[in-house]
């Protein structure tokens, strides 16, 4: 079974973001980078499938050349090789990104049985790249998967909603997007890191397209920011909290 996981390099932010002076990006000068939380589950799923069924796990990302760092980290977890579509460092819109991914996937010799995305990226959350890729590749897609089994050429998937679990199936080759909770992602070991250094990362170039969803600026969302009313310190403040809970009718 050959699996492809698509990743995105994203900053690892703290509780508050800062924007660059031109308000077009977040300030990353003291931030590290990683991948989106759901994508860690995607890689783990890919590693597990290859462990169980054999085959290869390929990673694909589109981003700056520095994204090699994220690819190496995930190669250290057990992926076979990686492809990096190097951009000009600018953020590409979903259509441009999807088109570049599709070109790269079509250029691969391997015809992947399963392509896995994270349910959403931490930074842009456009909710569409995976679907555009599915359309372009004429493949079925199941999104927001929290439990998955591959049997007899069918991806049997569950999605968790307020009312319970929904069951979907997609015949391979298929695409799924997965959510945190699907599995517990493992972290790299030192031998894994050492092996990852020797694995292949294919660097590719793609031409940017004129964005149709065109970012103009970013702004920080207004937080409630009235600031909490501090009721006091330690257990001494409990009576004050009980009063508040009474007022709002909590009991």
């Amino acid at each position: 079974m050959d699996v492809l996981v698509c990743l995105k390099r994203v900053p690892l932010a703290g509780g508050t973001l800062i924007l660059t002076p031109d308000s077009r990006d977040i300030e990353t000068k003291h931030l590290g980078f990683g991948i989106s939380p759901h994508e860690e589950n995607a890689v783990e799923a890919g590693v597990q499938l290859v462990e169980q069924m054999g085959g290869t796990l390929t990673l694909l990302t589109l981003g700056p050349s520095d994204a090699e760092e994220q690819l190496r980290s995930q190669l250290a977890i057990g992926a076979t090789r990686a492809v990096l579509i190097e951009t000009d460092g600018q953020e590409w819109d979903p259509q441009g990104t999807a088109a570049a991914l599709v070109d790269a996937i079509n250029a691969e010799e391997t015809k992947f049985d399963l392509i896995i995305f994270g349910a959403e990226s931490a930074d842009s959350a456009g909710y569409q790249i995976h679907i555009r890729v599915a359309h372009a590749l004429n493949r079925p897609i199941v999104t927001n998967v929290k439990s998955m089994k591959i049997e007899n050429g069918i991806a049997s998937c569950e999605r968790v909603v307020a009312q319970g679990r929904e069951h979907y199936e997609a015949p391979l080759p298929a695409i799924v997007t997965v959510r945190d909770g699907l599995n517990i992602p493992r972290y790299p070991s030192v031998p894994g890191r050492m092996q990852a250094r020797k694995k292949i990362v294919d660097m590719k170039k793609a031409e940017p397209r004129v964005p149709k969803l065109e970012k103009v600026t970013l702004a920080l969302a207004p937080s409630k920011d009235k600031g909490a009313e501090i009721l006091g310190k330690g257990a001494d403040a409990v009576p004050a909290l009980v009063d508040v809970l009474k007022q709002i009718g909590a009991f």
């Binding site: 456009g126 897609i141 968790v160 929904e166 979907y168 997609a170 970013l218």
Partner: protein, 319 residues
Amino acid sequence: MILVLIDHDRGEIDALSLRALTAARKLGQDVEAVVIGNDGASLAAIAGEFGAKVLHVATHAAITDYTPMASGRALANLVEKLKPAAVLAAGSPRGNEQLAHLAAFLDIPMAAECSEITLGSPHHVLRARWAGNLIESANVHSDLLVATVLSFSVEPESINGAPASVSNFEPALEPADSVVKILSRDAGESKGGVTLSDAKVIVSGGRGVGGPDGFGNLEELAALLGGTVGCSRVVTSSGWRPHAEQVGQTGTKVAPDLYIAAGISGAMQHIAGMKNSKTIVVINTDPEAPILRYADYAIIGDLHQVIPALTSAIRQAKG
């Protein structure tokens, strides 16, 4: 005309769709609605009440339950026929998914999670990113605007309109469009009857709880308040609690009446999942924890002392 997708589960409306309808109405054009599947026809009254003149009902033998790609195809067919200025849906997982299929079929852009929409050439939107912590101002270069509406950016407003007139149509589905659909369902991951999404009170614990044993006190308090226990991502990734209890961008997004966050510093992705709660109470040793910015009330202190004291005080108060 603005076309709004009303999402439903076997005939039961997703209330977030009403927010999308309200947002559509504010664009100053006629609003028509569309439901996918026969069983949506029953929603003509409520669609009308919230301002839709017409309710288009896509019926097809292959559409027996939620079938997202088919929804996209149906919407594409309808767009071709009606030539709306925009297609909107709720910024829910299903709303986003169905409109993404539409946008993919038409190969046009889609703007997800918009808090503000201005039609024009290009269209302009404000949309949420970074789990709602950033607002992107973006231009959408396309005749037709495909966008979903950020759930809590608009309150649903009824105009007590007459029931929408129902117009059935049969989309021209390809076999591939209905391959992926809901085949069956199980009941929820029920815990003592109250699920996280339904709970009116959530007592949530983070790293500060210190380990799986520390959650006993939180459970006791939650039970006393008729609520349930939630937790932050670090708690589930440490294996202290099941993933189903995780609140946040990667877990469940919740909006209870009362959210008590104990020992949670407030990573962005956690905030994203709970900031719409009505009243937020924080118990934390760190008076600078980011979560305090979103809280209504806070006690600075050790949850291991505060929670038991609170539990016994409430017990006393209840008599």
